[in-house]
Amino acid sequence: MSYYWQYGTLGALTAVGGAFVVIAFLGNRLMRPRKPRVEKATTYECGMDPVGEGWSNTHIRYYLFAFLFVIFDVESVFLFPWAVQLEKLRPQGTVLVEMIVFIGILAIGLLYAWKKKVLEWVK
């Protein structure tokens, strides 16, 4: 494909970013002194030993926000092709109304969420 070079910047940035991490860690490893001891390998060299597991259950309220985020994310994705083409499509009124209807229906969902106090942080 001819316009792959457009991704060249992205590729170069990825390569430079990766190289930066590798070089930094490698340099660190080469220059630092190495005197391993059992105590140094523990998570906390001082203080309390950790008890139990690191996992804990999250509250379902996070899920709701994540879900609403997905829905409005999908909506925003549809806005891109609309926005780039709005100026060229005729009649503009129709195309504008099409998007207003789309957003309007989702806005009712948001209004519903707001009125039902779904957006409030339940303690």
Partner: protein, 186 residues
């Protein structure tokens, strides 16, 4: 040429990460492999000239939906190993055989049906730009399915709010409680 090279890199990553999704014992690890899988697919989409789809794949799937996945996994807890047990003894074997059979049929047919002329590139559709072409189709020919999508999204939003929301204090005290309190167990 360049698209073949990209395919040869992204394709195996997609397949390998898909295998790791189902082989990881830890659900969070599966989710992380899924992110890699979705990213590899996004690269493949871009490789096929569907740039917008590739970006959407990144934003929606690898971004938003994976956040949702991780929340749900954390909500349920990741150490539920009892869920990995089998309810029916030979379930895993049978489903494995049937799955391989289905995949084999699909691969065989798609390999045989592959026809360069039928599966042309998107060059024509992309002539005015990928996003532009999509916008034109979406807001003319597919306007009705597009509007129905908004109905689908609002149904999903209401559904999630009904199933996931705890009752607020005001609600418990209000008139609503008479209608929607503890439902009678049958």
């Amino acid at each position: 040429m360049s698209e073949t090279i990209v395919f040869l890199i992204a394709g195996p990553i997609a397949l390998g990460s898909a295998l790791f999704i189902i082989m990881s014992k830890n659900a969070v690890h599966s989710a992380l492999w899924l992110i890699l899988n979705l990213m590899a697919l996004a690269v493949l989409f871009v490789d096929l000239d569907a740039q917008f789809l590739g970006v959407v794949q990144f934003i929606i799937y690898a971004g938003a939906i994976m956040v949702l996945f991780l929340f749900v996994i954390m909500l349920l807890g990741v150490t539920r190993e009892e869920l990995l047990g089998e309810a029916i003894p030979i379930q895993r074997v049978v489903s494995g055989i049937l799955g391989v059979a289905l995949a084999g049929t699909l691969v065989w047919i798609l390999l045989n049906a592959y026809d360069e002329s039928a599966f042309g590139s998107l060059a024509g559709a992309n002539s005015a730009g990928n996003v532009q072409g999509l916008g034109r189709l979406l807001f003319s020919k597919y306007i009705f399915p597009f509007e129905v999508t908004s109905i689908l999204l609002i149904v999903a939003a209401i559904g999630a709010m009904i199933l996931a929301r705890g009752r607020t204090e005001e609600e418990s005290a209000s008139e609503v409680e008479r209608h929607s309190g503890e439902d009678v167990r049958l």
